[in-house]
Symmetry: C2
Subunit: 356 residues, 2 copies
C-alpha cells in the first residue's frame, strides 16, 4: 500500500437557500494524504477508505444557515460534507477497530477520512456484509444502516402496530418508506403508499407488496385520495414528507391513531415564511392522536436486535431492497440534489471505490 494517496473531497461552498444546486458544492481534486494516522490525530482516531456514501434527506437542513439550535449541526462552508457511509479501516488507534475491518457510520464525502472521537462512536463494525456475508456491502447505507433502523424504530417502536391495522406511508419508495411498507405487511397490516411517479407506484405494488399505492402528483385532492384508499381511516401514518400531505392525513386518521414523524422532505427546500401551513391539527384532539418525532441516533441500542431480525428476511428474499447507485465521487452532489426532486428510485447512494 502506498504511503500516500490522492484524496478528492466534496465541500459545501456556501449555505443553501431553496433547492440545492450543483454550484453549492464543489469536488476538489485529490490532494496527497498519508495512509497512516498522523502523530497529531487524537487517540482513538480511525483512518478509513470510503467505499459507499449515503444521500439522505436530513442532509438538506444541515446545508442551511443555522437559524436556531438543532439536533444536528449545520455543515461548515468550505469544509467536507459529512454523512453516512461504508468504509474500510486502513489504520486505527480505536481498540474496537483494526486495519481491514469494514465499518458503517458517519464519514466524509472524500476518498479517505480520518474519523476522530467522539464521531468514532458512530462507526460500527460490519459483520455480515460483502463477500462471505451474503448481503451487499452497500446495504449498510440502507436497509442495514441508518434508514433500516429508522424504519424499524419508527414503525415498531413509535407506532406499535397491531395486526389488521391500516398503515399509510408517504415517500414510500424511498430508503425508509420501502422498508416500512414491507414491515407493515409482515406485521399483518393493510398498507398503502404514496410516491411521485407511475414507475414508483408500480414498484410499491409489485416489488414491495403494498396493498395499494397512488401517485400524489396526479391527485388533485389528497384527502379524497386517502379516503378512497382508506374508507375506514388510517391507524398509523409513517410521515416522511409533511406539508399538504400531513394536513390531508389528519382528516383521515382514525381514533387513537399514531403518526411517526420521520421527515418533512417537502419542506426542507422552502425558505422561512414559505413553509406549508398545517390547518387540521385539531384532529389530534378529537381523534386522540399521538404524533411523535424521532431520530435514529437516539435508538442505536436497538440496532443488534434489528439486524438479527432483518437479516434472515434479506437472505430468504422476504424483504426486498431497491437501491439507486450513482457511480463515482464526482456524481455525489447531483445524486444528493436529485433526492429533493424525487429523481432517485429507491435508496440513493454513491459508490466511490471498489472494495479493494
Amino acid at each position: 500500500m502506498a504511503a500516500t494517496a490522492a484524496n478528492r473531497r466534496v465541500i459545501l461552498k456556501d449555505y443553501v437557500e431553496g433547492y440545492p444546486r450543483e454550484e453549492h458544492m464543489e469536488v476538489l481534486p485529490g490532494a496527497e494524504v498519508p495512509l497512516r494516522l498522523a502523530g497529531d490525530d487524537p487517540p482513538g482516531s480511525v483512518l478509513v477508505r470510503n467505499l459507499y456514501l449515503s444521500c439522505d434527506p436530513y442532509m438538506r437542513p444541515k446545508m442551511s444557515r443555522p437559524l436556531r439550535e438543532s439536533y444536528t449541526a449545520a455543515f461548515t462552508p468550505g469544509s467536507v460534507i459529512t454523512g453516512y457511509g461504508v468504509a474500510r479501516v486502513l489504520d486505527s488507534s480505536d481498540p474496537r477497530l483494526a486495519p481491514g475491518d469494514l465499518v458503517w457510520g458517519i464519514t466524509g464525502w472524500e476518498d479517505y477520512s480520518v474519523v476522530k472521537p467522539p464521531a468514532t462512536a458512530f462507526l460500527a463494525k460490519i459483520s455480515h456484509g460483502g463477500e462471505g456475508g451474503g448481503v451487499p456491502l452497500s446495504y449498510y447505507t440502507g436497509i442495514l444502516g441508518m434508514p433500516g433502523l429508522t424504519a424499524y424504530v419508527g414503525f415498531h417502536e413509535i407506532c406499535a402496530p397491531k395486526k389488521g391495522e391500516t398503515v399509510f406511508v408517504s415517500a414510500a419508495s424511498g430508503a425508509v418508506g420501502q422498508l416500512v411498507g414491507q414491515f407493515a405487511r409482515l406485521a399483518g397490516c393493510h398498507v398503502v403508499g404514496s410516491a411521485g411517479s407511475k414507475e414508483k407506484v408500480e414498484l410499491l405494488k409489485t416489488k414491495f407488496g403494498f396493498h395499494d399505492a397512488f401517485n400524489y402528483k396526479e391527485e388533485p385532492d389528497l384527502a379524497a385520495a386517502l379516503k378512497r384508499c382508506f374508507p375506514e381511516g388510517i391507524d398509523i401514518y409513517f410521515e416522511n414528507v409533511g406539508g399538504a400531505m400531513l394536513d390531508a392525513v389528519l382528516l383521515n386518521m382514525r381514533v387513537h391513531g399514531r403518526i411517526a414523524v420521520c421527515g418533512f422532505i417537502s419542506q426542507y427546500n422552502l425558505r422561512e415564511g414559505e413553509k406549508d401551513a398545517v390547518r387540521n391539527l385539531s384532529a389530534v384532539i378529537g381523534k386522540r392522536l399521538r404524533m411523535q418525532g424521532f431520530i435514529e441516533p437516539d435508538h442505536k441500542h436497538l440496532y443488534p436486535q434489528y439486524e438479527a431480525w432483518v437479516l434472515p428476511y434479506i437472505r430468504d428474499g422476504t424483504i426486498a431492497y431497491v437501491e439507486d447507485v450513482a457511480e463515482g465521487l464526482e456524481s455525489a452532489p447531483k445524486a444528493l440534489i436529485g433526492l429533493f426532486h424525487g429523481r432517485n428510485v429507491g435508496k440513493q447512494l454513491v459508490r466511490i471505490a471498489d472494495d479493494e
Copy 2:
C-alpha cells in the same frame, strides 16, 4: 313534592358559524313536566333536578354544522343543549342511583332532565360534595369533575412530568389551566402560564402559584415572550389554545418535550379555511417531540384515583379553585358565549337552583 313542575329549557336555535351569539340560543319558558319517570322512559332512566351547569369550550364545536365525523356528536337545532352538570336525583330506575342522591355528569340545560341509557353511564354519584362533604357541590363541574380529571390525566398521564422540568400552560386561569399550574408546582416543576388580561395574570402568580405568567394580548412576539420565560426551553406544554401560540411554543420546546393537546379554543370560532396555519411542526422531528391529544371520557377509570389524590389538597387549601358563577338558567347562553371572549375569570358555571 308537586307531581309536576315548570321546566325551562335552553335550546340551540341553529348551527353556529363564527362566534356564537345570544340569538343562536333561546331560553324557553317552563312547560309542565312530571316529577316522576314516565312509563315510556326506558329502564335505567334517571330523572334529575339540575343544580349547576358547566360551560366548557368543547361545547362550541358541537354547535357547528357537522362537517365530518367527530368524537362528539353535534347538538341538534331545536333541542336542549347538553353538557356537564350537577344534579339531584328525583326518580331513578337505575339501580346505582336513588332519589335524593347527588350526581355529576352529562345532563341538559334545563330545570329537570330525564337522563336515559346509555348517557346514564356518565352520571356519577357524588360522595363528598355539599353539606357535610366539606367541598362545594359546584366543584363537581370543575376541579372534581371533567376539568379536574382532564388536568390530571393530561398532566400526569400524558406529560409524565419529572421534578425540575419546565411547564408552560396556555389559558392558564381557566377551568383546566389553573389546575395544571398547581399540579405542576406540586410535582416540583417550574411553571409559567399565559392568560388574556392583567387580572388573570395576577391571579396566576398570586392565587395559583405559577412561577411566572404573561398576558398574551400584550406580547407582540409570542416566541420571544416564551424565550424570555424559558431561556432553557419548555419540557412540557399543556395546550389549551392552538394556533399562533402552538407555533411559538414549537420553537421553544426542548429535546424530548411533550405536548398534551387538550383544546384549541383559539380555533373553535374560525370558519373552515380561516384556521390558523401552524408552520413550525418540523420541530417535532429535530426535538423528538411527542404531541398527544386526549379527551377525558377515555380516562374515566382514573377518576377514583384522582379524587382520592386531590380531595386532601382541596380540604387543606394546598390547591385553590376559582369559579366564575353566573346566576340562573337565563344567564347560561351569555355565560357560555363569554368563554370564547375570555370574559370568565376561572371556571365558568351557572347556578340554576339552590340545592333544595
